[in-house]
Symmetry: C2
Subunit: 259 residues, 2 copies
Amino acid sequence: MNQSPPPPLPIAPTAAVLVIGDEILSGKVEEANVAVLARTLRPLGVLLMRVVVVMDDIDTIVREVRDLSKAHDWLFTSGGVGPTHDDVTVEAVSRAFNVRVVSSPPMEAMLRAHYRERCTAGHLRMALVPEGAALEVTAEVAWPTIRFENTWLLPGIPEVFRMKIPVVVARLKQSLGDERGHGFVSHAAYVKMDEGELKPLLDCVVASFPDVAVGSYPKWLDPSYKTKVTFDGRDDARVLSARDAFVASLPAGEPQRVD
Amino acid sequence: MNQSPPPPLPIAPTAAVLVIGDEILSGKVEEANVAVLARTLRPLGVLLMRVVVVMDDIDTIVREVRDLSKAHDWLFTSGGVGPTHDDVTVEAVSRAFNVRVVSSPPMEAMLRAHYRERCTAGHLRMALVPEGAALEVTAEVAWPTIRFENTWLLPGIPEVFRMKIPVVVARLKQSLGDERGHGFVSHAAYVKMDEGELKPLLDCVVASFPDVAVGSYPKWLDPSYKTKVTFDGRDDARVLSARDAFVASLPAGEPQRVD
């Protein structure tokens, strides 16, 4: 336990999410996109550091986009990209980066082809993008995903948000290049001891493995265990060593299981 | 539609939530408390304006508690109140308000009575509070809920978080006093038109009812309707008028239903 830890891996690329929507803050709709994105970023080795949820207020969104895009390698917005009055994300991102809102000719053409004689001015609003935005597509997802520099504009509807994930993954893998292969890994031990009893054992493994994040989560109403102890990091061998050192420190009869 | 709107109600008391937890940002656990709190605050007339999710980093939490507690009438933290190394909320809130962390004698006595000879230093950490904190209890919830000035320290475990809600409601009702009776109300219309087609009708009702928040939410894969249009405000009669004006503007065959 006294051996010095290996040199740390390069600091992970970081990310933030800005969730835009009165409907989340009023409790009308349960937020469902952050967890999906978190689980997408983790194995890529991108550290999601911050999530902010704000109302459909353009000045607030402009300020958040500016701050979050500067402070993180990637920013993902969720929501506010439809055609109606409460969809202000494209305008807010444009203002945040000091560019104009323009209609994208290829997106406008796709909308006209899709809606044909039913196509309204409202539908055509879905072709608006910040001037200079990249339109990200893959072979499977033809409708473009809008990215301006490090800021992705993702839709709030969970089914549509999920359709964009392969596009994000493809682009991030490209940009991460050599840093790939350092995705986060996670292991866990499940014990019947409670957190109060575990504290000295946790303090010990935390001190011995500064490069491994140790978390403990009480479980209610589950007869098979009382606390889940998690071990997270970018070096699988170190994470497993931390878990096994913790397991070796437990009294007889523990753990209930590991994974 | 050209009558002027009634004088606006007093601006709602505002609230923010600070969710503390690596486990949410890593996607290991889905956040489940914000929607519960949002639905609790809404009928009380308290406007939830902002949610921030951060890692278990004490400096970050201190900064957020300072900013959010100043900018809103109420702040609710979720998570980080257990006995282990990653539970730093009590210390962070104490630092944010420049007070010491102290052990609460009544909470310590309750812990000793509960754990008896099994009681560890770890268990006793659950009696730590910011010096000067209020310990909120009700007849039904005997274990105190910690509040420091306008900042509530709520637990992250969803089952325990929910147990605290009646305590929050009782205290907020007390403090709101005369402002009660102005809780937010919500009505909706469900239509088969899409957002692009609805845009001019929505713009019209938005312009005519500046005191009613109008939202539109596309529904995927539901044959009974395509868009849910919501009407929210603090004056039930105005909210219903807005919904009915919108419904009257729809073409034949719409809406599919209202609520």
